[in-house]
Every structure is written in structure tokens, then in C-alpha cells.
């Protein structure tokens, strides 16, 4: 009851006129920043951090948290409408969001994303409110072996996502992992895989470079080549009744994915090294594995949109937990929020809940209000995004090319990366023509830089004994499940059954 009282007080703080205004402005700005390929919550929060010094600390963090929320909702918009995952957290949304949009059901995809995000955020808020201190200690017990086991589990779900041709799927995963290893060795700091001795490779290949190349340039070239540039525009006009009907369908068809994403997303989100990206990918994989219609995934499954969207929102809230309770940021965005709190004179950690109770509960209250505001603002803007899709393809296509290049440059500020985007775009076109699944490569380049250091740190801890992944109480079961999941498709090689569809292809 005490918690409810504190939460009530926090909501009253969040509902103060200035804070409410900050929530609405923050969510709207975040929505558009998140919808822009190449820009994500981290850009929005970093760029607008100086503005927050004009308002009190509680208003400032509420504003930044609202941007964070808005950007998480916005990430789905470019995934669905343009087919480009604007941020790594929205990669999995592209797999089913884009195919659904191509079928003329973009509004269903966007409404599903909005509702799943809302439910994911709400579930996370409730868990956060009730169990913050307990969960913080659970998160702290996750060391490198546990995080690596979790990454292994995520990779295991990719093998199942690839489709029928296992060698091509495994090759795609390994290619993504190797590309993610280019630059510097994270442990020793030595230059590694500087391809053709081109110094620009020292900075590595970012996730966005590959994702924009594959999904922005490659996807458009593929569509233009396949359709001869004469794409039929089958996106219907958006009506209020249509949106209500879509909302009903989203809840009916996507409840399972939403539930999986909400809980799994929060759990993965609270882990310091993980965050919203692995959370959304794992939720997608688990949703497919547990679905009665797994063959629908990759073709426009509602569950395939609901699971990652619920997860990335839930994980965003989850990643606030170690930041507030332990002072450990769970994602780049929360790292900036942490920096902001320090500048405002607040010390994150266990004492924060006692010493700055009003601030903490005001922030938690604002999570609820921001989540609600994000849902309504997002739904209100869906007709605008649908209108965009109704443009003739000969206008939409060059706009997507331009957004890909500009978004790619905005993210890395390096012309070399723009040429790489183009190279990956042409490469994706060739590989896709030959039935190589490309989604696993994109997923691998995201998770590889987390997996490798944790593997090596674990082996360092155990003096090279791989049993460290099996004999720890949390890492052990996760590793075993991951290995079983990896072996299942291998068995499929010998016992060929009915074909499945490659995800995101």
C-alpha cells in the first residue's frame, strides 16, 4: 500500500502542468527522432540534454524519459513504412512489419506496434514499481558467463529464423559476427581485421551501416528489379473505423507475442550489458518458436511485430532499473540519462530511493503518463505515416534512398561508411537473389560485440575451462537450452521436413 501511495504522489508530480507539457513535447519529439533512420533515442536524449538545464531536475529527467519512450515507439515507424530499421531495437520489427505493409496492411502493423509498445511499457512499469530493489540484485548477479549464455540463446533463435538452407544461414550469422569484429580487439586493444589495410576499417563496421545497406538500399534495389519499378500501391486510406478494427485484430492476433515481449523484454532489459536490442530479438525468436503458425513469421505475422515492439519498450523501462538503483546504465541512452542526473546533483544508487524519494517517484509516475501519451500521440500520427506510404513508388523510392544515405551519414559522420552502405546494398541484392538469408547477418553484427568480450572474459575467469557455462546455476540451463535449439536445425538437415520461410527475406 505504501508503494501505491508513493506512486500516487509521483503521478501527481508528473501531472503538474509543466511536467505534463514536457511529457507531450518529449514524446512527440522522440517519436519523430525515432522514426528517422539513423537517429534513435540516444541522439534525441544527447542533443536535448542541454535544454533540460532550463527546468528543475525532476522535469528534466521526465522530459528525457519521454523522449526515450517516444523514440522507442518511433523506431517501428521507419521499420514498417520504409523497411529500414532506424535503430537496432527495431530490427526485428522489420521482419514482419514491412511484409505486412507491402500487403497493404501498414495500418495494422503500426497499430499493433503502438498497442504492443503500450502494453510492454505498462507491464514493465508495474514490475518496476513493485520489484525494483529485488530485481536490481538479480541483475547484478549476471556476470560474463550468464550474459554470454543469453547471447548464445539469442543466436540459437537466429538459426531457426534463417529458413531451409542451413549452410547459408550459418554463413550469414558468421559473416555478421566477423564484420562486427572488425576494428579493434576489445580486450587487448590491438587493431584487428583492418581489411585491405584501409585505415577507415579501424573504426569498425557499425550495425546501422549494414542494416541500412541491406534493408534500405538492397531492399529497394530488389523491389525495383523484381517489379520493374512498377509497384502497385495497395495501401488503403486510413479511417477511424479501420483503425478500431486494426486495434481489435492487433489484440486478438498479437496478444501472445505481446505477453512474451513484455516479460522477456523487461528481464533482458534490466541486465547491464544487454538492453532493448537483444530483448527484442530474443522475444521475436521465442514468439516464433512458441507460435502455432511459425510459417507466418517473416510474411507479416502480427505476433512477429507485437513481440519485439513490446520487448523493446519493456526493456527500455527495465534498463532504467539498474541505472536508478545501482548507478549502472543498461544502454547508451540510460548512460546519458545517468550523466544528466549527476550534473543535476543527484547520485544514482540504492540511497536515491530514500534521499530523493520525490524525484524517483515523480520519474516513475511519469513513465506511466509518458507511456499513455506515447500511445495516443503515436495513434494520432499513424494516418500521416499511412499517407506517406500512399505516395507513388517513383517518389517513395528516391526518398527512401535519400533517407538511407542521409540517415547513414547522420549516424556515423563518415563518408567511408556511406560507400560501405552502398556496397552492402549491392551485395544484399546479389545474395538475396541466391536465397541467402540476410536477417541473421544483421542480427549477428548487433550481438557479436556483446558476445565476444563476454565469452573471452568468462574463459579468462575459468582459466580456459568451458564448463563455466554449464556449472553456474543461471548460465548452465540457458546454455543447455541454447545448444538444444542450435542442434534442432542441424537435425533438420538430415530429416528434411516441409519448407519454412526465411525471415525478413
Amino acid at each position: 500500500m505504501e508503494i501505491l501511495g508513493l506512486l500516487g504522489d509521483g503521478m501527481l508530480i508528473a501531472l503538474q502542468p509543466l511536467n505534463l507539457l514536457l511529457i507531450f513535447v518529449g514524446v512527440t519529439v522522440g517519436l519523430f527522432i525515432g522514426a528517422m533512420p539513423g537517429l534513435g533515442s540516444v541522439n534525441g536524449v544527447a542533443i536535448l540534454l542541454p535544454i533540460t538545464f532550463l527546468v528543475p531536475p525532476s522535469g528534466a529527467i521526465i522530459f528525457l524519459a519521454a523522449i526515450y519512450y517516444g523514440a522507442m515507439y518511433g523506431g517501428a515507424i521507419s521499420s514498417v513504412t520504409l523497411g529500414i530499421p532506424g535503430a537496432s531495437t527495431a530490427v526485428a520489427t522489420t521482419f514482419d512489419g514491412r511484409p505486412l505493409a507491402m500487403k497493404g496492411r501498414a495500418s495494422l502493423a503500426l497499430v499493433t506496434a503502438a498497442i504492443a509498445s503500450f502494453i510492454g511499457g505498462s507491464v514493465a512499469n508495474i514490475i518496476f514499481t513493485g520489484f525494483a530493489p529485488v530485481l536490481a540484485s538479480v541483475a547484478l548477479s549476471f556476470g560474463p558467463p550468464e550474459i554470454f549464455a543469453l547471447m548464445l540463446l539469442a543466436f540459437a533463435t537466429f538459426v531457426g529464423l534463417g529458413g531451409e538452407d542451413i549452410p547459408k544461414t550459418v554463413l550469414s550469422i558468421c559473416l555478421g559476427l566477423v564484420l562486427g569484429a572488425i576494428g579493434f580487439d576489445q580486450i587487448s586493444g590491438a587493431p584487428r581485421l583492418v581489411l585491405f589495410d584501409i585505415n577507415a576499417f579501424l573504426q569498425g563496421i557499425g550495425f546501422l551501416v549494414l542494416a541500412i545497406g541491406v534493408y534500405g538500399i538492397g531492399e529497394m534495389l530488389w523491389t525495383i528489379e523484381q517489379t520493374r519499378g512498377e509497384v502497385e500501391n495497395n495501401t488503403p486510406k486510413m479511417t477511424a473505423r479501420g483503425m478500431m478494427s486494426d486495434a481489435g485484430e492487433a489484440i486478438r492476433e498479437g496478444w501472445k507475442g505481446t505477453a512474451i515481449g513484455s516479460f522477456l523484454g523487461f528481464f533482458v532489459g534490466i541486465l547491464p550489458a544487454a538492453g532493448a536490442t537483444p530483448a527484442s530479438l530474443m522475444s521475436y525468436g521465442v514468439a516464433k518458436m512458441t507460435s502455432r503458425k511459425p510459417e507466418q513469421f517473416g510474411r507479416g505475422s502480427v505476433d512477429g511485430i507485437a513481440a519485439p515492439e513490446a520487448a523493446n519498450n519493456s526493456a527500455s523501462t527495465g534498463s532504467m532499473l539498474p541505472m536508478l538503483t545501482l548507478g549502472i546504465p543498461g544502454s547508451p541512452t540510460t548512460a546519458i540519462l545517468l550523466g544528466g542526473m549527476v550534473i543535476w546533483g543527484l547520485v544514482p544508487g540504492p540511497r536515491l530511493f530514500v534521499d530523493e524519494s520525490e524525484f524517483v517517484w515523480g520519474l516513475i509516475g511519469s513513465f506511466y503518463i509518458s507511456n499513455m501519451a506515447a500511445l495516443f500521440i503515436n495513434l494520432a500520427f499513424i494516418p500521416v505515416f499511412i499517407w506517406m506510404l500512399r505516395m507513388p513508388f517513383t517518389i517513395l523510392a528516391p526518398m527512401i534512398f535519400v533517407l538511407s544515405i542521409v540517415g547513414g551519414y547522420a549516424a556515423t559522420r563518415d563518408m567511408f561508411d556511406i560507400w560501405l552502405i552502398l556496397f552492402f546494398g549491392f551485395g544484399a541484392l546479389v545474395l538475396r537473389r541466391l536465397d541467402y538469408p540476410l536477417a541473421p547477418a544483421v542480427l549477428a553484427i548487433v550481438l557479436g560485440p556483446i558476445a565476444e568480450p563476454t565469452l573471452r572474459q568468462s574463459l579468462l575467469l575459468s582459466s580456459g575451462d568451458p564448463m563455466i557455462f554449464f556449472n553456474r546455476p543461471v548460465a548452465g540451463p540457458i546454455t543447455i537450452i541454447a545448444i538444444i535449439l542450435i542442434l534442432l536445425p542441424a537435425l533438420k538437415l538430415f530429416r528434411r521436413k516441409k519448407p519454412t520461410t526465411a525471415v525478413g527475406e
Binding site: 527522432i33 554463413l171 566477423v178 584487428r192 528489379e225 542521409v406 552502398l422 565469452l455 579468462l460
Partner: protein
Amino acid sequence: MRYGEILTAGVLALFSIYLMVKSAELPIGFIRGQGPGGGAWPFWLSGIMLICCAMIALNWWRRTSPPSQSDEPFFDNHGWRTIGLVGGGLIAFIGLIEIISMYGAIAVFLFYYLWFLGRHSLALSLILSLATPLLFFFFFEGLMRITMPTGMSFTDPVFDFLYDIIY
């Protein structure tokens, strides 16, 4: 398509070997007290890639994968022409960025695509080609404070004028 399959597998196999050689510039084994060497992760992954290429080649020889059974060309004439026109436009777009600025290159590319490839009217092509880079300028430079390439010095007067508006 059949030849495309084996040719691509061959190129990927060569790339895998190159990656293995490159990875071996750092230790690829286990170093006592330090764990796996810095090159181990990419080396063994590249090794798995090489094995996968061999399996793809085997499937090609056994004609078990769909592309290995296909007699259709990789791209037909129209496909090559379309990819050439769009891809060539993209190469020119990126090449122009450092000469006439990001915004100038956007305008040229949009005009080329809308007017030449899209067959839209001259008025619509011009309006969209000029309005889009302006909108992007105010969003990225004004709102997001992200500076895009401004090209060679002859574009300075234009940017001086635009920067005066936002600063």
C-alpha cells in the same frame, strides 16, 4: 542463376580464407592467463564460413538448392538496365556529396530520379528536388545540430546564407 550460385560461393570462400589469414595477425589460440587470443573469434568464425561455402558448393553440385536448379539468368536485360540506372544514380549521388554538398547531391539525385526515371512533371520534380534538401537542412543542421558535408568552397555563399537563418 546456377553459375551465379557457384561463383558467389567461390567468392565468399576466398573472402573467408582472406579473413582467416587476416585474423591470424593476432593470436588465434588460447593464451595461458589471458584467454583466447584476439584473432581467435574471427578466425574460427571465418573457418565455419569456409565450411559453409564448401557445403553450398556440394549442394550446387548435387543440385539440391533452388538457385542451383535454375536455368534463368541472374538478371535479364531489363533487370541489368534498371539496376544500372538506379545504382549508377546512387553512385553519382554519393560521389557528388563531397563536391556539391550533401544537400546539393540530394537535389540532383532526386531530380534525376523523379524526372528522368520516374517520368514526373518538370514542376513536381523541381519542387520536390529543392524542397526536400531544404527541409533536411533545417532538420539536421537547425534542430539536430548534425552537420552534413558542405562540399567544395564554391558552395560557401549558399551555406553562409542558410547558416545565417538558423544561427
